[in-house]
Amino acid sequence: MDRLLEEIPRFFNYYNMIFIGQAFFYTTAMSFIGCTVGFAAGFGLAVMRHERIFRSLVLRLLAITYTEIFRRIPFLVKLMVVFFAFQLSGLEVSMFTVAVTTVALSAAAFASENVRAGLESVHDNQWDAAEAMNMGGLTALRRVVLPQSWPVIIPPSMTYSVGLVKSTSIASQIGVLELTYAAKVMTNKGFSAFLCYGTILVLYFVLCFSLNRFAAWLETRLDPTRHRPA
């Protein structure tokens, strides 16, 4: 305990703070880019598999297969597959790109499910009505269905994004300089594991907790109950 107290001022010096701050930035950047790209892709997948928009069985099967497979693979295994697939392709990419790709692949699978649930929460009559107004599938989606389904899509997607922020800690395994890896480096420098891992636990907590509060606020704000089908 005394040793720990003695270490604290040395641990929280200027350069270590910058180092950890950078790691924090990498964690957030990785999660943010990955989730944004993944959400866009997942949105596309959900649209692909919706029978009122595209009536193509091939597209539907593709989207369903992707979603069903990718949400059932653990993040670590996915990371390894992506890592070695990039190696095989011969592209020279940074570890950061590998990690972001993995985050995006995971986010796409889950976003696809969330968006699908959102689209399904809108009553079929709305599609019929839009069709009666001579709207095409995509126009109906954009002007009629989507405005009603955002409240169902956004809160669970936010919650899942927080889960992905936590999953990015696994990217330390391939050496991306994010928070968990920073803690490893600090322990290797001789600081006690208690201090290093304790500090990043707090940082992760601050990040995820504020995001979760934001998600909860959005959920009450958007109030999905008004939009449930009759």
Partner: protein, 224 residues
Amino acid sequence: MAYTLQFGQVTPYLWYMAGGAWIALQLAGIAFLFGWAIGLVFAAVSEYGRGPLRWAVRGYVIFILNTPLLVQIFFIYFALPDVGILLGSYEAVAIGMALNASAYLTEIQRAGFRSLRRQELDAAETIGFSRVQTIRYVVLPHIVKVLFPPLSNQYIILTMTTSIAAIFGVEELTGRAYNINAETFRSLEIFSIAALYYVVLTFVASTVLYWIGHYFFRVQGKVF
């Protein structure tokens, strides 16, 4: 230089990996059972408790929910020895996963408690049910029906999270994939097969749990 995929070199290890999948299921089972028990107590405290005890439990749950499992296990595995608690890798992972799962299971079971309605209990009292009868015929059937789908989801998610154990050298599915990788260097093949194992494993688990829920507890709705 072009790399050709050679799954042939991996086939001798398929049973070895299946063994790893079995260990993954067991690890998930252990974490789930302990997490469920802790979660039940914590959910009761969260719903009906008062004062410092309740704050402590809520603090614990919120903290665990908002930090990564990997870092929690790192903390248990590397930091607790500083204060004199030394754990093997399997124990550290199992404890970490159980503690992590307990927070999620607290929130799930809390929702179960909430779904109980005052009127149901009143009705049971009116027709003269004893306390045991009320629990057996009113509370349990209701709670099981509400809780079965999220609990099964949690078990399946736990099965996937066991892959983290590989980082600590536990030889479950992913750990064994690491081992084979070190022997054959057929990395992409091995990890894709490991991924396939997880897909099949969780798919089978989903289906089995769905039928159990459907036939025994009359649960509607899908699992994972």
